[in-house]
Symmetry: C2
Subunit: 200 residues, 2 copies
């Protein structure tokens, strides 16, 4: 029912399409826009259009950036011999937050998932291979796809694809998360933590 | 840190201003916009601007509407003798959903709250009085402001203001909510439910 007129109803509908937003939250957002100053609504609308129309992929790593090359690839202090392959820009950001990784990234924009019709051709795999040509300085590729079925399948696929190139291919370690409680960790993770044990 | 370029960062910031949206949710929303088709982003931006710029208050009840007069006030089948005073369009919608109320509404757009600097002049109180002139058909005013401190104060204020006009002034009943468990109902509500008991 169209209690507040068609424009507000449409705004509620548009907000409720966003991930994690139900009708009640969408309604709160719509009334926040209606009750706020006009320049706040304009700033939100402009930010949506600008981000959508102006952001582009970095030519090297396929991160999202304002310029042709992202701030990580443009930074000559980063170690160009190490390349970490991740599924999404958010995963890249998660590793950047650790401030422990000084190499470069390659963003696949997804993971292999035959159920959703996503194969290597839908990902930035060709683009990854193009970065590994003869005069590339890359010596190690770290496969940091997600530790779920799709991410593991992608890591497996890439390791088979890249092994013949003679590079060092590694996968981030599986194990018990720091701060966790062994009692609540699933058996597969416990098993992997045992298999991956290191001498101290 | 500006991981995804300035445009995406600005979009994340704008989304996180919306009520109930944290940085993580704002990031998910921004990537939803980035990864979706351009016409979805345009539809969202257009809906924000249209709702903000085109929606107006109903001349009679101050509901939000596309036209000068809202669909409730324009409906001649509604009982013009009864007027329900509510704080917000959402409260009006909540009563409309019951399909039990056939009268008209008046929306105050807030409640008296001296702490927030909101007095009767910040609400649509003058506009309510203007509706109660000599040739108005209104015979009963139902005060349906929220059952909290501000809503009660507003109801009290309006009842004192409107009593001299010789109209029937009523307040929605306080009591135990249907489907609730007495054990978990607060003492004031239990007391009000006892005071307001009806013969069956």
């Amino acid at each position: 029912m169209n209690y507040y007129g068609s424009y507000v109803s449409r705004l509620i509908e548009e907000f409720s399409r966003l991930p994690g937003v139900g009708v009640k939250s969408a309604q709160r957002m719509a009334f926040y826009v209606l009750n706020g100053p006009a320049d706040r609504a304009e700033a939100l609308a402009a930010a949506i259009l600008e981000a959508k129309n102006t952001s582009k992929y970095c030519k090297h790593c396929y991160n999202i950036t304002d310029d042709d090359i992202c701030y990580i690839c443009a930074n000559s202090k980063r170690d160009a011999r190490t390349l970490m392959v991740v599924e999404s820009p958010q995963d890249m950001a998660a590793y950047e937050k650790t401030k422990e990784y000084g190499g470069l990234y390659h963003i696949l924009h997804g993971a292999i998932s035959p159920m959703d019709g996503i194969g290597p051709n839908e990902l930035k795999v060709k683009e990854l291979l193009a970065r590994l040509d003869a005069d590339s300085p890359i010596a190690e590729i770290i496969l940091a796809t997600n530790p779920n079925i799709e991410g593991e399948a992608t890591a497996m696929y890439l390791s088979k694809l890249l092994k013949p190139l003679g590079l060092k291919i590694t996968r981030i370690a599986h194990g018990v998360p720091v701060g966790g409680d062994l009692e609540y960790v699933d058996s597969i993770t416990l098993m992997r933590a045992l298999q991956g044990r290191l001498e101290i």
